[in-house]
Subunit: 307 residues, 2 copies
């Protein structure tokens, strides 16, 4: 692991991934294209923020590339890894959130990232992280199975224990403790990955980043023609409130970005374009809205229950 | 300071204040009334949450009374006061947020609270806190002056240094660090108040709680007839996003509630009913929207500049 690998392998991978995802989302949308802002924050970072808005399918899709660095890692990064304290760092990543217009198409999120923390006269500490997770408004077993089967297939070449471990980590991570409720149906989440070696960890991260499209786009295709009305729209806007609550209260990535003096507009591209809160809202008994809570937001073991 | 004072003086004051504020807001609205939920959470607390929705003037107003207690204060309460660690506590308060429909009427927030932290064989540690602050969407100097003059007049009997000190504390507290932007035009904020004695601290807290209506209602009356359209509505929805960001990322009261296993629906009654985010939105040059940022969200010293 050295600067050469960062320049020649890691940055090109992330930039290519951003391009590939934007191209695929544009094709799926068939209406609008991404607008790009290239930004630089003094000596502390640079990036490219791409946003597609008011598309035929996507109400908003944001795909960020960023490369930030600093003299010290902040509290949200060192809280669980004290050995990082006092090290300079570089963080490179691609992060995206897609908010479709049709409430039958789930919101999706994916992120892949590389960190390196350095100190004079010490070996660098590096790791990869990432994953993808799905947040439906209306649950479809078929979609949940496709999502998790795709995740499992991407993980399998790296060991049979990889998917179950990272699936569980995803369920644990994307959880709203203040509501005792899952954000969505999960997927995979990994962090602190530096085993068995750089090449394998990087290959796994590439597989996850590239595999996101195979997990998500078939679901978009399957649901895009479903008719929806005001009822579904209102429930979608309401549930988007949970997305906001998770990202602003619990998400380490968001807090890391805001605490590192990141570019706020790029970080908060994850916010849905329109959101509703309603005091003490309860879904009607035996409604599809209630089924979402009962059957989908419950950290289920999809593949072992249903295969 | 003892249990008798809590039972005979403090709780009755807070309950009466909740009634008085709800009555006054209902009168001002002239349409809808408050609906009440009385709640209890095991042994750890109880409260009354009152919500008025879709009124003629108020899109949503939430007025909470709560009395919570526990064996240990959580991190958000002890971080700046380590002497409280390991003490049991009681927290009693009234908290409210009013989101008007008309974008020319500002959102307002007020809170008064009493804490007591106890340990065997030690004197109890008690304090009051509270304040009120105003968040306009369109700025009016006349309203800002009225708001701050009312605050100053409420503080004056308690000392000439009280208003400037608590005005500044309010500006410091209601600040979005990740945007380097004030939440609104401030008001007053105080905490840890236990001087000069219980009676005086309680009297000050009563003055602030009761004075909120004198600060806010004349502004509602002055702006309620102003005509507004889609442009003003869209800007209001957009600016409400800042309210959400502040409350979920920075507000100690919100975090304290969520960390103390509080009643989430009551705590998050502060969330606006409808909110919009827009990537990199910029107000048009020389517009009233730009004037809000330039002339109102800047922690101004209203009374000394203008009187």
């Amino acid at each position: 692991m050295n600067q050469l690998a960062i320049t020649k392998q890691i940055i090109p991978f992330f930039l290519t991934l951003q391009n590939r995802i934007c191209d695929a989302l544009e094709s799926a949308d068939g209406g609008k294209t991404f607008q790009e802002d290239i930004w630089q924050r003094g000596d502390s970072g640079r990036g490219s923020t791409r946003v597609l808005r008011n598309g035929r399918i996507f109400e908003q899709a944001g795909v960020n590339f960023s490369y930030i660095h600093g003299d010290t890692l902040n509290a949200s990064a060192t809280a669980h890894r004290p050995e990082l304290t006092g090290r300079s760092f570089k963080a490179i990543g691609v992060s995206l959130v897609v908010h479709p217009k049709n409430p039958y198409i789930p919101t999706s999120h994916a992120n892949v990232r590389f960190f390196i923390a350095e100190k004079a006269d010490s070996a660098p500490i590096w790791w990869f992280g990432g994953g993808f997770d799905l947040t439906p408004y209306y649950g479809f077993t078929e979609d949940a199975l496709h999502w998790h089967r795709t995740a499992e297939a991407l993980c399998r070449p790296f060991g049979h224990d990889v998917y179950p471990r990272y699936k569980r980590w995803c369920d644990d991570y994307f959880f709203l403790k203040h509501r005792n409720e899952a954000r969505g149906i999960g997927g995979i989440f990994f962090d602190d990955l530096n085993t068995p070696d750089f090449m394998q960890a990087f290959a796994f991260t590439r597989a996850i980043g590239q595999g996101y499209l195979d997990a998500y786009l078939p679901i978009v295709e399957r649901r895009r023609a479903l008719h929806w009305g005001e009822r579904e729209r209102q429930f979608q806007l309401y549930r988007r409130g949970r997305y906001v609550e998770f990202n602003l209260i619990w998400d380490r990535g968001t807090l890391f970005g805001l605490q590192s003096d990141g570019r706020t507009e790029s970080i908060l591209i994850s916010m849905p374009p329109l959101v509703r809160w309603e005091y003490n809202a309860k879904p009607a008994p035996n409604s599809p809205e209630e089924a979402l809570y009962h059957n989908f937001l419950t950290a289920r073991d999809w593949l072992n229950e249903n295969c």
